[in-house]
Subunit: 568 residues, 2 copies
């Protein structure tokens, strides 16, 4: 019972669905169309092509065995017919036809289908800036646009660049421009922080400092009003200043390409994404969709979510391929995991950030851990900073974000939680999470276990503390408040601070605290601090036992404060 | 309502339980006793102290902030009284007393308790070899013994060593002796492979080759009969040969120290481990136990399991600490995750190996994936080899083991599955597993997703194949069988093999297979092979479509065959 399958879109999900289906039903025919000339490329690799890490655009189009995935490859190797430079104009559902247009000959004609796959993806969001049509103003919208950017860089005429938008793609592009090309790059973001919505302001600032140390300038909380120049861009104008530049990259997010679906009467959400069920069927059971043009369930909030990510598109493509062949595979949704390279660091996360958790109505709390990824006695190790977001009272884990010089180590912890996240784990489960252990790879009590322990102690009211932002506010306001900072580390770590701030910074090592209770400063608030927040937590318990309830522990300790950038 | 808690054993679980309890109930008193002088050390770090990676034994005893965890530290910092060189002789449950002996003064006396914690750990298994009392014959039984080994190495008189047992500790010790000390090291293992019970023979051989390349000699399937020498060891005698050596390390496994518990009438399993419930209570509700002396549920088999691992001991210690203070925390069991450094590689796993799955009555199957940990177009990347063990028909995932030059990347994948394993995931869930993605950290279709896909194709009967051992058997027997090896890679990868084996090795690239059907060799069995098993799978589907059912795909392809050591 052979059928005709038509796939609109040939970047990530389209090819996966087409090839999987063809493998399952070789007697059926599959046609895949795409408006562009270049197809089936790793779109997430574009920033690394721009940076020069990937030397040739064809590498993004290659199989692991170095064949270019062009129409000929799909025909010969996969038995899939591909029509490039072919635009889908209209889906005629009643007659199961799609009106298409050959963009070279301008000819219009119909392609019939039994099953249709909408793999139309997303496009860069436009903010309709005056001057955005000028030369050297780019978006990151596909491999062909990427080649134009790289060609421009190759000419050697770009010494300054502005990236508009500090989401993942904006940051990756900024790093690409700065790191290998040495271009003076400024990132402008309308939100008050980078990676808004994905990480907390604490993590954002910590990551931003890494990028700043590597030469990138940031202007956050700043709105771009227009782009100016003669033919080519020469200036970007914001609500606060003008910036001279030779190149602009607009990376202010993406929006689903759902016009075809909407015009065909398929259900499209208010946010403009094609709606699908767990089998990735649209409201027409003969039409499947997935990837950047659909919304799927956010498995943490239970609400529809938009996750434009190449990995999800690939996996969804396989599910669609199976279901086109009569299968009933499901794609239940996403917890929103991400990882991004920030120079020599990795930044990764899963689930909700503190802000998004609160926006979604959760009574959310957070805490931090700063710990090595290996046993502390093992010579080679990297620091991992992680922030846990959890629900007050229930202890439900809502999200986890982190930064480390060992992105692989960090990602391992993030992924381990991500696989649990759909079934609503608690901080207690995190405490007991089984992570493979030996000293060259982890601690007996892994950072992730400790994060669970800390959260549990917070929930039980034993560990009462503050993050770096509250610490900094108290520190800056210290002369107006009856506050003392009690350092629980050994004297040799504290000498310079004691000398610099004799009235506000004091020292009793946690281990000798009970023998020195009379030396504990009298103040309305005592902020306890150590290197990581562990010894100061013990100090808090001891002081509470002796009737002192006016202490605040510093989550993540001095290590986090330093990485976050407290100037002390 | 203060109570008296007594903890017997002060290495990993004991201190954790004692300190956690003391933090929760500072008004109660805690006494911890240990037979040894040195306490609270990272026992899993011993091989790295032997190797010299950890320069000073005190580092294994130190906190992250460089304080030595000695009795004084526990008293001052933690409020826990510690008695070292103190042996527990007898638990008198009816009167809630423990008879102890001061090993220096030889004095015997009683310590009373309200709650007791048995943290007696394990000791090296003895095989009662003639000559094991000779000088320079060691076990890995604690920090004091480790210091004796290291002192011996420091003298410079050890140029040859024999390690008996190729479990994790044996391998770690062998690497430590070889890598930095340059000692000619031979590992003798009675089982036919290294790491028996933990990885399949395929993974074992692949790991063994890495160690052999680094100078370690292995004698597997060989039984040690005795140790000879005058005062000091000079020879090890096996059932096959004599080996001259200056040092012997016996690492043939550990056994729980459960004598105290047994004599006190507590429930002890047939295998000699203390039996506990999920709250880590023994059969006496006033006595808790955990760590290396207990058995807990194997969360894959549902049967009792013995998991002597420092990480589990630490986490269990915290649970016991909580429960001593009236909490009801649970420790449900373990899926048996492990990771071990093998020179520049990591070897890790979780759940059951193929052999242990079959021993446990599962109708188990396996397959392999060989893939880079990052996107194939990203310049820096490492190969990951993984073996998935899954149940026939149901597709339930039973275990995963792997080897990679990036142990952190590998461990991340292992841990991600480990967190799912207790709830009996299927290969389909593995296909859709959400792993954070960007090209510098992973592939859009991660190796773990692909492993799920391959398993699913095997279960559905589409991917019919063999692993390296079956391949090698067919290859070695090729002249007696009607078998042809059809290489599905491009001609340039195959030229040398075609020349060397013109009658048995043939080549049609998968991509041109359907145009070259008449060239497909006629044979009773056609073994399809490519670089990783992916193109040869596609070739298998194509040939089946054209009526050829006599093909076998090679899981993991040439890459795995080479790492496994096929001499071709």
């Amino acid at each position: 019972m052979s059928k005709r399958v038509l796939v609109i879109g040939a970047v990530a999900l389209g090819p996966k669905a087409a090839c999987r289906f063809k493998r399952l039903e070789p007697e059926s025919s599959v046609t895949m169309i795409d408006e562009a000339d270049l197809i089936s490329y790793g779109g997430c690799g574009i920033p690394y092509y721009i940076s020069g890490d990937v030397s040739d655009a064809r590498e993004l189009q290659s199989t692991t065995f170095h064949m270019i995935r062009d129409p000929e490859f799909f025909r010969e190797a996969k038995g899939v017919d591909v029509l490039t430079r072919t635009r889908a104009l209209k889906i005629e559902r009643s007659s199961r036809k799609v009106l298409v247009k050959n963009m070279i000959s301008r000819e219009e004609y119909h392609i019939e289908y039994d099953k249709l796959v909408l793999a139309t993806g997303s496009r860069p969001r436009r903010i309709s800036l005056p001057g955005e049509e000028l030369g050297n103003v780019f978006t990151v919208s596909g491999l062909e646009e990427a080649i134009r950017i790289r060609d421009e860089l190759n000419k050697g005429s770009v010494s300054r660049a502005v990236v508009i938008g500090a989401g993942f793609i904006g940051l990756e592009m900024a790093e690409g421009l700065t790191d290998l090309w040495g271009i003076e790059t400024t990132v402008i973001e309308i939100a008050p922080q980078i990676m808004p919505g994905f990480v907390s302001s604490v993590m954002a600032r910590t990551a931003r400092r890494i990028m700043e140390k590597n030469g990138i300038k940031f202007l956050t909380g700043e709105k771009v009003l227009g782009i100016a120049g003669q033919n080519r861009v020469s200036k970007v104008r914001t609500d606060k200043r003008e910036i001279e530049t030779d190149l602009v990259i607009m990376a202010v997010g993406v929006q689903p390409n759902s016009e075809l679906a909407r015009e065909a009467g398929l259900k499209v959400s208010e946010t403009g994404a094609v709606m699908v069920d767990k089998y990735l069927r649209t409201s027409d059971p003969d039409i499947y969709s997935g990837g950047d043009c659909v919304e799927i369930e956010n498995l943490v909030t239970g609400k529809p979510g938009f996750f434009p990510l190449g990995s999800l598109a690939n996996r969804q493509g396989r599910v669609i391929g199976t279901n086109l062949a009569g299968g009933m595979d499901t794609f239940p949704g996403s917890v929103g995991s991400f990882v991004v390279k920030v120079f020599d660091h990795g930044v990764a996360g899963t689930g909700l950030s503190l802000e998004s958790a609160r926006k979604n109505g959760f009574d959310a709390m957070n805490t931090f851990v700063v710990q090595h990824d290996k046993s502390h006695f093992y010579p080679e190790k990297d620091l991992i900073i992680m922030e846990l977001v959890f629900e007050n009272k229930t202890g439900r884990v809502l999200g986890l974000q982190g930064i480390s010089t060992n992105g692989d180590s960090l990602k391992g912890r993030i992924d381990s939680l991500a696989t649990m996240l759909p079934r609503k784990p608690t901080t207690k489960e995190l405490s007991n999470l089984e992570l493979a252990y030996s000293p060259p790879f982890s601690s007996a009590m892994d950072a992730l276990n400790n994060l669970g322990n800390i959260a549990e102690n917070i929930l039980s009211g034993r560990n009462q503390g503050i993050g770096p932002e509250e610490f900094a506010r108290l520190w800056e306001d210290r002369h107006n408040q009856d506050v003392v900072f009690l350092d629980c580390r050994d004297a040799e770590n504290v000498a310079d601070l004691l000398e610099k701030y004799p009235d506000k910074w004091q020292n009793i090592a946690n281990e000798s605290l009970e023998a020195n209770l009379r030396k504990v400063p009298k103040a309305e608030t005592i902020v306890l601090v150590c290197n990581t927040g562990g010894r100061s937590y013990e100090a808090q318990l001891k002081l509470r036992r002796h009737g002192l309830e006016n202490t605040l522990n510093t989550y993540g300790g001095m290590r986090l404060l330093k990485k976050w950038g407290l100037d002390i």
